[in-house]
């Protein structure tokens, strides 16, 4: 990994090389236990579901562009205002 460049090679440190190998091959030592399953569920199910809910629930509900000072951004409120004005 180190050495073979234009200059004399880097003075390698076995501890750093071992740490590098450990970091690069984390997936090879990955095991499913209570902690990792919890993290996996959080990252693959809970967070994506939460972000999808937010993306879908609020899609098309806000209209900030061209709003006047007295107007609300939230479209549902806009409909009530319009109905009240009428």
């Amino acid at each position: 990994m180190a050495g073979g460049g234009k200059f004399p090679p880097v003075l390698t440190d076995p501890a750093i090389e071992k740490w590098y190998h450990m970091k690069e091959n984390t997936h090879a030592y990955y095991k499913l236990n209570r902690r990792t399953v919890g993290i996996a569920v959080m990252l693959t199910v809970v967070l994506p579901a939460a972000f999808y809910w937010g993306s879908a629930a609020f899609a098309g509900k806000f209209q900030p562009a061209g709003s006047r000072r007295s107007e609300q951004w939230y479209i549902s409120n806009k409909k009530e205002e319009t109905a009240a004005q009428e």
Binding site: A2, P48, F51, F62, A65, W73
Partner: protein, 469 residues
């Protein structure tokens, strides 16, 4: 006129293959042809009419460019001389096939951004895979290069098979793959959903969206500097270009329907890739994960169905192409000297490489969207467009504004400052004239586009307006 853009790389490949033997001959011939192509691109830009969204310089009914493809073609042709020069004396064995592979990638990349036929787009989209596979698998520097090459190839190929399937369904339904004809043919909503999903999986692998991103960090770390530059600056743009050219205009109902899905995947991509950056110890992997985050931000911009968002998305592609190329070149400067990319071995580089540190700092600023750089314009307008679409998406994606400086500045600080490292040998050399001249154009354009973004937005204006649905 557009055919010449393709003929020049083809001619250069033939010339080099038949007549050039020495490394110097190969590199200078390739450089000359790529500079001719760049000049030709500038001529096209001069004669381009920004007041229309129609495809211009149409040739044979299958080639044409608009404001979106114009700057992407410029990006390819601007980067090719830089990539070719960066390989000179960096690649010691079999330079001729290396340069031929680069030119082959250049040919297909330019073709992708010019073709007006879906089948030709598919062929060009696939065409870059094979030379890139050899670039990574043969010219890579480490043990896992073949694994990385196969991973890159198979991931993209799998996605492309779905794209091909969608292409066949589209052809059976409409009887044509001509893009301009397809724009006029209405496609039923249910069919749109299926076709959009098939397109999406293929293009999402290229962007790359999480969870299809696994191939990118491996491909970047295993490939040579030139390969990384091409991968980050050009190949990643193919996916976003596919979205803006084909998915969104051909399947507008499906694009609107699936926008929450795209936004979700992109937000996850931004957050997970940024956090992954913080945990990396290989310099190239940091920039690779950073690229994932940025490309996902650009994808959110493309799906905002907002003028600011759409133009920001395309602008983002150009900006990211410049900044990530420069960062990879800077890492390549260090790797050429010391042949290691582990961050732990570097510290206090400002003492021995001050000019390198200054350039590194400037491009880090551009990477984290500091005002004055092109990164700021792209991120600002992206979040403006996202806010108009859905404030929840904008606020979630804006986590990148916090995380990007976290990993980028930490990376810069660890490498540049502190007491000088004890691991590097006592022979030092700051950035050479050649390396500086490779980076200066990228620096110039990064700040030019950051100070005067209208230069990119003007040709984009009509094309982006025509994409709104």
């Amino acid at each position: 006129m557009l055919v010449i853009l393709l003929m020049i790389p083809a001619l250069s490949m033939i010339t080099i293959w038949l007549y050039c033997q020495l490394a110097k001959e190969v590199v200078f011939t390739a450089l000359a042809f790529s500079l001719i192509n760049l000049v030709h691109t500038l001529l096209i830009m001069h004669y381009f009419d920004p007041s229309t969204a129609a495809f211009q310089f149409q040739t044979l009914g299958i080639l044409g460019i608009d404001g979106i493809s114009l700057w992407l073609i410029w990006l390819v042709n601007m980067l090719m001389p830089i990539v070719i020069l960066s390989s000179w004396k960096a690649v010691n064995t079999l330079i001729k096939p290396f340069i031929l592979l680069l030119l082959f990638i250049s040919f297909w990349s330019i073709a992708v951004f010019m073709v007006l036929d879906l089948l030709l787009f598919y062929i060009s989209f696939e065409g870059v895979l094979i030379p890139m596979f050899f670039l990574i698998g043969f010219y890579g520097g480490r043990n896992r290069k073949i694994h990385a090459g196969y991973q890159f190839f198979l991931y993209t190929l799998f996605g492309s098979l779905l794209l091909f399937m969608a292409l066949i369904v589209l052809y059976i339904e409409t009887g044509t793959t001509d893009y301009q004809v397809l724009l006029t043919i209405p496609i039923s909503q249910n069919r749109q959903y299926f076709l959009w999903l098939a397109f999406f999986i293929s293009l999402a692998i290229k962007i790359p969206c999480i969870p299809f991103h696994v191939w990118l960090p491996e491909a970047h770390t295993e490939s040579p500097t030139a390969g990384s530059v091409i991968l980050a600056a050009i190949l990643l743009k193919l996916g976003s270009y596919g979205f803006i050219r084909f998915s969104i205009p051909l399947f507008p109902d499906a694009s609107t329907y699936f926008t929450p899905l795209v936004c979700t995947m992109c937000i996850l991509g931004i957050i997970y890739s940024s956090v992954a950056c913080l945990a990396q110890i290989d310099m190239k992997k940091i920039i690779a994960y950073s690229s994932i985050g940025h490309m996902n931000t650009a994808t959110i911009a493309l799906f905002t169905n907002d003028y600011h968002g759409l133009s920001a998305g395309v602008y983002f592609l150009i900006s990211h192409g410049l900044i990530s190329s420069a960062l990879f070149l800077l890492v390549g400067v260090l790797y050429d000297r010391y042949h290691t990319r582990t961050i732990k071995y570097y510290r206090g580089l400002v003492m021995i490489m001050p000019i390198f540190t200054v350039l590194f700092l400037l491009f880090t600023f551009a990477n984290i969207a500091v005002p004055g750089t092109s990164g700021f314009i792209s991120e600002f307008l992206t979040f403006l467009g996202a806010m108009n679409l859905n404030p929840f998406v904008a606020i979630s994606a804006s986590v990148a504004i916090v995380l990007a400086p976290a990993y980028a500045l930490w990376f810069f600080h660890r490498v540049s400052y502190g007491s000088f490292t004890t691991y590097l040998p006592t022979i030092y050399q700051d950035i050479t004239a050649k390396e500086l001249h490779l980076l200066l154009p990228l620096l110039f354009f990064t700040f030019l586009f950051g100070i005067y973004p209208q230069i990119i937005f003007e040709p984009l204006h009509m094309s982006c307006l025509s994409l709104l649905h």
